[in-house]
């Protein structure tokens, strides 16, 4: 019966009806093609490519990314498509982000004539595929590795009209935690003893970049960084020596930029065995549902922030919509940050396609994307023309800061969306 | 009366080359037989078949009426058929004592282990002196003694010795020949393969000559010792 429904749905969708939703459900590879026979080629089903780590160590990220793109496509098709096009997804597995595999995946998408745009949460560690897509004039909307993206695009933005990042520069990660602490100190909610900070870094580009920025910014704001430790990238099962050093330095503020969920759980738990009176900031990890599930009440008091993912506030209507749709499709309202990226990317592409009207005019579509303003679950996406990254800031994509309170994340900044305010962590009592 | 051990029409080979081509022989209780024959004509292969290390392609091997062919080397050993292999590297990184212990572990009769060990040390005092040395560092002759010692520790009913005197100094060879004669008393039967024809003929009752994978001659050891044909076959013309 399913083949019946899909053929009927594709003809229906080409007629602009909403009935197409039944086929877009879970079928990502898509049988496709049958609609092309009775519709003009330019108005048939087109493919959106996805690069994602569907297997391997970070498979859960890859699946998140796939869900986001799938959901967006399902919604678009349900709404009757865009400019006469309906969409299907073609996912390429980038496994462990090795260059050969990424090159092959990129090539597969580029050689598939029905692919008109490619989205990704992240595809490679270096984002080198940007060059391949730019050379082929393919629309490529990505999320992670913003420093690499800015580095590649920034040299000659004109060469990359079709490359855009829905994630803003990570620069704010390097300032946000410091600014907040200064605010609390000024407001008297928290009294630092000597404005000392301790930074733990994991040996990878992301963590190192943020730690470097933080260190500089701490210094600029009159803090002293009393200690720094770098741990190897990968699972760290014992933080004893790092914590010993922290205890001996007894800083006001501890920042751990090792974003890996399990490392941050272990770090916190081992810290709590004998805590110092320090604020505890953990980079990114607590955003993951798995972190909260595991930490539960022991996470109370922990600070973290996020540039990706939905704005965790009912005050943002797009968030509510996305959460509902996600709940309906996948049975959870905890939208994976990777899903937010690809969901937004597909939607932004669709809007640009609507404007241009022809999926093959990729450069025009790219330019339309660059000029677009999109209110989305993660904030308002406007692109910086120099780096092709989304702009950061409270009116654009905000840096959301959270504190765990009563085993739940509470958004404490920016003011605009905040649902609560900072309290002293329990270990200060 | 059926023979204690009998080999009937045995064929065996390695890959495509056939080594044994229909061997027939038998061993009665209380008997010692010798296998003679030029190098590389299948004696060792025959013995490997008996102890279950090598699967023959045709024929049968029976021990006290029951076929040994389906049995694993361990099961053959449990029936009391113990083989001392030719030119073994032994267990190079185990001590002499451990090697002997290993041999003893194969002996179902625990209480016999201690006396057996004494017996082995009596036979080869050198092993006792060297009992803490690694087997891999023994001299060629010492290794040969240890190999026999391991076999004896298993408490054999039928002992099969494959070239036990290979590389032994004359004196030890004589001692070993004496030891083999002594052993005969405690064993139910003995099979001896050795290059030293003299020794074989002196230590056994009957002999078989194996050539090109077949028994070409058999006879009484005492008579064989005089046989002109034997002399010409093996001693060459000195």
């Amino acid at each position: 019966g399913s083949s019946d429904s899909s053929s009927s749905s594709s003809s229906a969708s080409s007629a602009g009806s909403a009935a197409g939703s039944s086929s877009a459900g879970g079928d990502t590879s898509g049988s496709g093609g049958s609609s092309g026979s009775n519709a003009p080629a330019a108005r048939g089903e087109i493919t959106i490519g996805l690069l994602a780590t569907l297997t391997g160590t970070t498979a859960s990220d890859g699946q998140g990314a796939q869900r986001g793109a799938e959901l967006a496509i399902k919604e678009l098709n349900a709404a009757g498509g865009v400019a006469g096009y309906t969409f299907k997804l073609r996912a390429e597995d980038t496994k462990n982000e090795s260059n050969d595999v990424v090159t092959a995946g990129v090539q597969n998408l580029l050689s598939d004539d029905s692919v008109k745009a490619v989205v990704t949460g992240y595809a490679s560690t270096t984002n080198f595929e940007i060059n391949n897509f730019a050379r082929a004039g393919m629309v490529y909307i990505l999320g992670g590795g913003t420093a690499q993206t800015a580095e590649i695009v920034g040299k000659d933005p004109a060469k990359y009209p079709t490359i855009w990042s829905v994630t803003p520069s990570y620069a704010q990660y390097g300032t946000g935690p410091v600014d907040l602490a200064d605010q609390w100190a000024a407001a008297g909610t928290w009294k630092p003893r000597n404005k000392s900070a301790y930074i733990v870094t994991s040996d990878n580009a992301y963590s190192k970049g943020i730690s470097t920025d933080l260190k500089a910014y701490f210094g600029k704001k009159g803090w002293s960084v009393v200690g720094e430790q770098t741990v190897p990238f990968g699972a760290v099962s014992d933080w004893g020596t790092v914590l010993a050093d922290i205890r001996s330095k007894n800083p006001d503020y501890v920042v751990n930029t090792d974003y890996q969920v399990s490392n941050e759980i272990t770090f916190l738990q081992q810290f709590l065995q004998n805590p110092t009176k320090s604020l505890m900031f953990l980079q990114y990890g607590p955003n993951q549902p798995a972190w909260l599930d595991e930490a539960k009440a022991s996470g109370n008091g922990v600070l973290y922030n996020n540039l990706a993912g939905v704005i965790a506030s009912d005050k943002n209507p797009e968030t509510v919509t996305l959460q509902k749709a996600y709940q309906a499709a996948y049975g959870t309202s905890a939208v994976d940050p990777q899903a937010v990226i690809t969901y937004q990317a597909v939607k932004i592409y669709a809007d640009a396609l609507k404007k241009v009207g022809d999926a093959d005019k990729k450069t025009e579509i790219g330019q339309a994307i660059g000029a677009s303003t999109t209110k989305a679950a993660g904030g308002t996406i406007v692109f910086d023309q120099q780096t092709h990254l989304a702009k950061a800031g409270d009116d654009f994509v905000p840096l959301q800061s959270f504190q765990i309170q009563d085993a739940k994340p509470v958004l404490i900044a920016p003011e605009k969306y905040a649902g609560g305010s900072f309290v002293l962590p329990p270990w200060f009592q | 009366m059926t023979a204690m051990l009998s080999v009937e029409g045995l064929h065996a080979g390695y890959g495509r080359s056939s080594v044994l081509r229909g061997i027939d022989l038998h061993l009665d209780e209380g008997e010692a037989i010798g296998l003679l024959g030029p190098n590389g004509h299948g004696k060792t292969t025959l013995l490997r078949c008996v102890s279950g290390l090598h699967r023959p392609t045709a024929g049968d091997i029976r021990f006290q009426g029951a076929s040994l062919l389906p049995l694993s080397p361990r099961a053959v050993l449990r029936r009391g058929v113990v083989q001392v292999p030719q030119g073994s590297r032994l267990f190079p990184r185990m001590t002499v004592a451990d090697c002997l212990r290993l041999g003893g572990a194969a002996n179902p009769d625990r209480s016999a282990r201690r006396p057996l060990l004494d017996e082995v040390f009596g036979l080869f005092p050198k092993l006792q002196q060297r009992s803490a040395q690694l087997a891999g560092t023994l001299s060629g002759g010492e290794r040969q003694m240890l190999s026999i010692g391991i076999g004896l520790m298993a408490g054999p009913r039928v002992l099969i010795l494959d070239e036990p005197t290979l590389g032994l100094a004359p004196k030890v060879k004589h001692e070993l020949a004496d030891a083999i004669r002594q052993l005969r008393g405690r064993l139910e039967a003995l099979v001896l393969v050795d290059g030293d024809m003299d020794l074989v003929l002196r230590a056994t009752d009957r002999f078989y000559v194996v050539e090109s994978g077949q028994v070409v001659q058999t006879g009484d050891s005492v008579a064989g010792a005089d046989s002109a044909r034997m002399m010409s076959l093996f001693l060459g013309d000195v």
Partner: protein, 289 residues
């Protein structure tokens, strides 16, 4: 003083974890002469089974761990029959087994992903007990590892040193034909060894799954670490392996404290070369027979 205690405890905890992982590997190497690349994925498999028993069947962790170990013991039998037995007697048997275990690693990792999905998961810790030593604390599974590693590996060491099965294992490795002639059944010994290795891997997996999140590839990192441990401590004996594990653990703890952890492989390699230059017989005294 605090720092010293922290480094010591940390080093011991890491050493115990590494020791548990490396000893299974070293056991198979020193007895069968093969390198088991599948050790990491066996560890993951143990963890996933333990997770299923705790979460799906609601069993207490200790029971789940025991069940997981039992399941892995059964897996070990299959593993031996499918991956070791068919190859080990062949020419280049060691390399064939190595490649077969590599292939099965990829296979089982994918199967885990297909069966359990890629979500991050954790197994509850065995205990919430903790022990402090002048400010440094070990708790939960770390504590269990600290105690279990020397006990388990020590027990295994004794078994291999003293028991008949231990002698049989060594004999088989050194001379297969002669070992069979003294009544050793290679199949039984191989199964024994592989099962023990699997059991050790499963136990390490359950411990680790309480400390960090589980992924199908969770065993890769420990496997690589065990590699380094073996390079340093040698595979000649379990004692050496355990010593190597503690050495690496302490070195890691100390280098983290003083330089940051990333430098320990570099230091290790340098140490290795220095050792080699100082000790002409090599890292591990090898006897040429």
């Amino acid at each position: 003083m605090d720092a010293f205690a922290a480094i010591l405890l940390s080093g011991l905890v890491l050493g115990s974890l590494y020791g548990l992982m490396a000893s299974g590997l070293s056991l198979m190497w020193s007895t069968l002469g093969v390198f088991n690349f599948g050790h990491g994925v066996l560890l993951a498999l143990g963890a996933y089974f333990a997770w299923t028993f705790t979460e799906q069947l609601d069993l207490p962790v200790a029971l789940a761990a025991v069940l997981a170990v039992v399941v892995l013991a059964v897996v070990g039998v299959v593993y031996e029959i499918a991956l070791v037995r068919p190859f080990i007697r062949r020419e280049n048997g060691a390399m064939l087994v190595m490649v077969a275990t590599l292939a099965v690693t990829a296979l089982v990792q994918s199967v885990i992903q297909l069966l359990w999905g890629p979500q991050l998961r954790r197994v509850p810790q065995f205990t919430s007990a903790s022990v402090s030593l002048s400010g440094a604390t070990v708790s939960g599974n770390q504590l269990v590892a600290l105690v279990a590693a020397p006990v388990l590996v020590g027990a295994l060491f004794l078994v291999l040193k003293r028991s008949p099965i231990g002698i049989a294992v060594r004999a088989l490795e050194q001379n297969r034909d002669h070992a069979r002639l003294v009544g050793i059944r290679p199949a039984a010994v191989y199964v024994f060894v592989v099962v023990i290795a699997c059991v050790l891997a499963a136990f390490a997996g359950v411990l680790l799954a309480g400390i960090q999140f589980m992924t199908p590839t969770m065993g890769d990192d420990p496997l690589l670490r065990a590699f380094v441990v073996l390079a340093f401590g040698g595979t000649a004996s379990l004692g050496g392996t355990l010593a190597g594990a503690y050495l690496i653990g302490l070195l890691e703890a100390a280098t983290t404290y003083f330089f940051g952890l990333s430098w320990s492989p570099v230091l290790l390699f340098l140490a290795m070369i220095v050792v080699l230059l100082l000790r002409p017989e090599g890292l591990i005294r090898q006897r040429t027979a």
